[in-house]
């Protein structure tokens, strides 16, 4: 109902503009005519152009029609009649032709102008959409790089831990001295041991703080295709892999069910396992640096496997590698696997390692499938 009114209103406006411009042209031509020895018709052309520009082709033609009638009746000799003297025939025809051309050119130009404006608008919308997308990607990457560049952070953590550790060791030495005195100073020994307990607890508290630092407060869970995550991280590490001459292969069973998980956290886990694997390969000969990431699922869970052809780890390390600050790398931090485990734990999955010295290492984690994704 309201659209019909609006539409009628719009049509009226269009013809209103055409009528008003022609009326204006007519008034001024009447006023100016005494100054010229011939019919002064140029203002009508302007009126036609304005009508076609603002109100479209049809209104333009309408203006041409009205102008022609007015010109014929008032200005083409003999005036005040619809008859046309033979001498004025050519002049009148030229006017009509000019008016038609003006109307046509004007509406054409207007149309192309509108199309251009429309295209610009659409472009702007797309740019803002893309910008939003890029900003999200950037935020994700910032989180990743935070995890990757933990070097500085760890230096300060190491310092923090080292202080109570130094105190514990120093008190320990003092303790031995107090006990080996003659007679042993038991009171001092007791005091010293209490200090050791305090400092040890302080170190524990620092580690607790670190752990909570790497735990995101509220995981943002959404339906995640683990295959996508693996592909993304493979792309992310491609340059690095080329630089280190590691060949990465993926084996992802198509149509894996999606899991309810925090996408960025899963990216961290996959990235950690893959960078670990690449580190493990740095001692391998160049043509045997192979890294494989595989994913499959059964009814209960999705399984992800990251396999390297590196040196492998001994059985005695296997229990410790997930502990915070345990590392076998010369400049390692010992947090990557600990963080990975806390993430997988938070997703109610399992993570473990299989390795035999000389035979490479395989890390696997599972993510349980929720009852339904419809």
């Amino acid at each position: 109902m309201s659209t019909t009114i609006k539409r009628n209103h719009y049509v009226a406006l269009r013809y209103g503009i055409a009528t008003a411009s022609v009326a204006t042209a007519f008034t001024f031509t009447l006023l100016l005519q005494p100054l010229f020895p011939y019919p002064f018709l140029f203002l009508f052309l302007v009126a036609v152009m304005i009508s076609a520009w603002f109100s479209g082709t049809v209104a333009g033609l309408f203006a041409v029609l009205v102008s022609t009638v007015l010109v014929d009746y008032f200005f083409v000799p003999p005036a005040h009649s619809f008859r046309i003297s033979t001498t004025a025939e050519g002049y009148f025809a030229a006017f009509i032709a000019c008016a038609l051309v003006a109307s046509w050119v004007s509406s054409l130009k207007k149309k192309s102008e509108d199309a251009l404006k429309d295209a610009l608008d659409r472009l702007e919308i797309r740019v803002s959409e893309r910008t939003a997308e890029l900003m999200k990607t950037q935020a994700d990457l910032a989180h990743l790089s935070q995890v990757l560049s933990m070097g500085e952070l760890t230096a300060s953590i190491a310092h923090e831990i080292n202080q109570p550790l130094t105190a514990v060791v120093t008190h320990g030495h003092a303790c031995v001295e107090w006990l080996s005195a003659n007679p042993p100073n038991l009171e001092k020994t007791r005091q010293t041991i209490n200090r050791i307990i305090e400092d040890g607890s302080r170190a524990g508290a620092i580690l607790g703080r670190v752990r909570s630092l790497f735990k995101k407060e509220a995981p943002e869970k959404s339906w995640v295709d683990i295959g996508d995550v693996i592909h993304e991280m493979t792309l992310f590490l491609r340059e690095e892999a080329i630089r280190r001459r590691v060949s990465i292969r993926t084996d992802i069973v198509p149509g894996l069910p999606r899991v309810k998980a925090d996408r960025v956290q899963l990216q961290q886990v996959v990235l950690n396992l893959m960078t670990n694997a690449m580190d493990a390969l740095s001692d391998a000969s160049e043509n045997s640096r192979k890294l494989m990431v595989a994913a499959r699922a059964d009814r209960a869970a999705v399984y992800v496997r990251v396999e390297d052809s590196g040196v492998g780890i001994g059985a005695d390390f296997k229990d410790k590698i997930f502990n915070p600050f345990f590392t076998t790398k010369p400049h390692g931090v010992g947090l990557g696997l600990a963080i990975s485990r806390s993430i997988i734990d938070a997703h109610e999955g399992r993570i473990w390692a299989d390795s035999c010295p000389g035979g490479g290492t395989t890390f696997q984690f599972t993510l349980p499938l929720q009852s339904s994704e419809t």
Partner: protein, 199 residues
């Protein structure tokens, strides 16, 4: 006396406890500023200095102390030392650069070495200040004569330079030797040498 500057209370107290257990006395400070304001005892001592400190850090403090001409043996302790840091500290005369956590034997060895070193410094300082006070008791004429004698001039030449008779010079010279407590000309030259090196 062992001075300990570390901003971490647990490390400070642990060091105090260890030193006490082996019969050494320590004084604890939170910062180099606090330490420089403190009254220090006149006995062989050394400074155990953390590198990372609030305010002026350990290495900067070492530089300040060195520039002020005070000879204070310093043992650095740090949780995150590196080669450039160590070499800078050692070049500037540090006794030892220990990484936390350090072992008792390393620390005690460094402390004993530092105390020995400080004892020698202090002995030298004492000798020189004794020499200086003896030198200051000489009359200005005697100081002049001593200066010329130790450059190797004979009495006759000294007399000519100062416008004195050879006999007068000889008397002044005898007094100088006596007041300075020098047994021989060689002794006196050595004394003058030490005085000039420190002045």
């Amino acid at each position: 006396m062992i001075y300990i500057v570390d901003d971490d209370p647990s490390v400070r107290e642990a060091l105090d406890n260890l030193l006490e257990s082996v019969g050494l006395q320590a004084q604890l400070f939170v910062s180099t500023e606090e330490f420089s304001r403190a009254h220090r005892v006149d006995a062989p001592s050394c400074l155990i200095l953390d590198v990372r400190l609030p305010g002026m850090n350990g290495l900067e403090y070492q530089e300040t102390v060195r520039k002020s001409g005070v000879r204070m043996p310093i043992i650095f302790i740090t949780a995150h030392g590196d080669v450039p840091m160590t070499s800078r500290a050692m070049k500037a005369g540090a006794i030892e650069f220990l990484m936390k956590p350090f072992q008792k034997d390393e620390l005690l060895a460094a402390i004993h070495y530092a105390l020995e070193r400080d004892k020698v410094y202090r002995l030298e300082e004492a000798e020189i200040s004794a020499l200086r006070s003896r030198f200051e008791q000489l009359t200005s004429r005697e100081q002049e004569v001593m200066g010329l004698v130790t450059t190797g001039l004979i009495n006759k030449e000294i007399g000519a330079q100062l416008g004195l008779s050879e006999v007068t010079v000889k008397i002044h010279r005898g007094r100088v030797m006596q007041k300075m407590g020098a047994g021989s000309l060689a002794d006196l030259v050595r004394m003058s040498d030490r005085l000039h090196r420190r002045l």
